[in-house]
């Protein structure tokens, strides 16, 4: 009962934040709405007993990525962009395409939903929390992808620094 209430609350937060993100005029307002949407999704993670991902969502998305976005919005001056047209010339075509894709996706979900079988009984493993469980699986079965992910992050850090760097005294 309470779960249902919380689900609708967080879902409303996520969807309303998402809609405001793509309709607001100023990029800073868009970023703040996106923070609301991400917080709603984080609440949904908590409702589904994914505590580790809840923490990651708060710390990494809201605390990391969104601060990065706000810094960039500050660096590139968007005041003039906020006064211009916000949508493409052919935005109606884009909206129609996405609505068509959305209709298809809803059709697929409504067609496939009755055939989703009930899963195994929802039971908590005795004495093992969500974070211990994730750590066990991540470092035992997914060690190589984990290391590759760290390599990817290293490449991303170096690449973004190189690209955002100001080019003074070019000698080429």
């Amino acid at each position: 009962m309470l779960d249902t209430l919380f689900f609708y609350m967080f879902a409303l937060l996520a969807v309303a934040g998402a809609i405001l993100t793509i309709t607001m005029r100023s990029a800073v307002h868009c970023a703040i709405s996106l923070i609301g949407s991400l917080a709603g999704v984080a609440g949904l993670y908590l409702l589904q007993k994914a505590e580790f991902l809840f923490a990651v969502q708060l710390v990494l998305y809201i605390g990391g990525i969104m601060v990065l976005f706000l810094f960039v919005i500050m660096l590139v001056n968007l005041d003039s962009a906020a006064r211009e047209r916000q949508f493409h010339q052919r935005w109606i075509a884009g909206l129609a395409a996405s609505l068509l894709a959305g209709g298809g996706a809803f059709w697929l979900v409504s067609k496939g939903a009755p055939s989703i079988k009930a899963g195994p009984p929802q039971s908590l493993p005795a004495g093992v929390g969500n974070i211990e469980h994730i750590a066990d699986v991540l470092f035992r079965d997914y060690l190589a992808p984990f290391e590759l992910a760290s390599l990817l992050l290293l490449v991303a850090i170096v690449g973004s620094v190189v690209m955002a760097k100001k080019r003074t005294n070019e000698r080429t």
């Binding site: 969807v15 991400l38 949904l44 994914a50 991303a156 955002a164």
Partner: protein, 103 residues
């Protein structure tokens, strides 16, 4: 009156978030907002993964969501770096004014 929440609810929510993200990607001109739409799309995918992870009592979905978040972070860092470099050269953030490759 209030039904218990099933996996289907999460699937529908995920589709809604995905469609909003795709719409933002196709409709907006501002490249910063387009990158925020990409974050929305990746979040919709994560909602789906977590819903099935709970449904099937399988932790692998959550592991996959962690990797999706890692890729999202890398994408945001690289994309914003490109954005700053491009703004320095072209002085604009509107995608339809960046048309060097347009035929």
């Amino acid at each position: 009156m209030l039904h218990p929440i099933t996996t289907n609810h999460y699937l529908v929510l995920s589709v809604i978030l995905l469609i909003i993200g795709v719409t933002g990607m196709l409709v907006r001109r501002n490249i910063v907002v387009m990158m925020m739409s990409i974050e929305l799309i990746l979040n919709a995918v994560n909602v789906n993964l977590i819903a099935f992870s709970k449904h099937l009592q399988d932790i692998n979905g959550q592991i996959f969501a962690v990797f999706v978040i890692v890729v999202a972070v890398a994408e945001a860092a690289i994309g914003l770096g490109i954005l700053i470099a491009m703004f320095r050269n072209k002085e604009t953030v509107q995608v339809d004014e960046i048309d060097l490759l347009k035929w």
